[in-house]
């Protein structure tokens, strides 16, 4: 699946998008996998209350299932308007 990062999440991880092969069944499992990769992921995912997630471009919860998801995005709370 495609994993996208925006704003300071993108900056901490150092890239806007990557292809991830995973057997994670929930967003939280995916986060755990990414955290175990490298320190920059740990830094980005240190405080989940400061993060939001979207599955296939819809806002979702961290315990949401990933079944069938093509695109998961992580980002800080939005600041539009």
């Amino acid at each position: 699946m495609d994993v996208l990062y925006f704003a300071w999440v993108r900056e901490r991880i150092g890239l806007p998008k990557e292809r991830v092969e995973t057997s994670a069944t929930t967003v939280m499992e995916l986060v755990e996998e990414l955290r175990n990769r490298e320190e920059r992921y740990q830094a980005a995912f240190a405080d989940l209350t400061a993060l939001r997630v979207a599955i296939d471009q819809d806002l979702a919860d961290f315990d949401a299932p990933l079944a069938g998801a093509r695109e998961v995005a992580f980002f800080p709370p939005m600041t539009g308007g």
């Binding site: 996208l4 925006f6 704003a7 300071w8 993108r10 979207a54 471009q57 819809d58 806002l59 995005a73 980002f75 800080p76 709370p77 939005m78 600041t79 539009g80 308007g81």
Partner: protein, 145 residues
């Protein structure tokens, strides 16, 4: 209903005028426009967004407003990319038979757009750059709807 996401500047006056002129059966038109403020020594603002999701989120918010209030039309324009103090960031416009609906729908659009549309603001000053933090009061604003 028109949703526009673009990096180019837009002409607020022309958009507002055209929107209002197109609604002869609506008695009330409300517009809101957000402008980059120059205080705090701001040199420029850059807005990042999530192409694809942005349009989807704005359409959902506008659709919800149309279900909730008696509206003739809704316009949302939101820019991304770099902009200087004084430049317009975004606008919404609502047309309704009555002023209460036009006002409430415009405020609803703004409240949701602030916290539910995937835009992120970064401010640049002579000292460097910083991501704008979401305000608790913006999240709290959603509870009134």
């Amino acid at each position: 209903m028109r949703i526009v996401v673009q990096s180019d500047p837009f002409d607020f006056g022309a958009e507002a005028g055209e929107f209002a002129a197109g609604h002869h059966d609506m008695g009330a038109v409300v517009t809101f426009t957000g402008i980059v403020r120059g205080d705090g020594g701001l040199d420029r603002m850059e807005i990042e967004h999530y192409p694809g999701m942005t349009e989807k989120a704005l359409e959902k918010i506008a659709g919800e407003a149309r279900e909730r209030w008696s509206l003739g039309d809704v316009l949302v324009i939101h820019r991304f990319g770099a902009m200087k103090p004084g430049e317009m960031i975004m606008m919404v416009a609502t047309a309704a038979p009555h002023r209460k609906d036009a006002f409430e729908a415009a405020e609803y659009l703004m409240d949701y757009l602030k916290s539910r549309a995937p835009f992120w603001k970064q401010e640049f000053t002579a000292d460097g750059s910083a991501w704008v933090a979401a305000k608790d009061e913006d999240e709290d604003a959603l509870t009134r709807w």
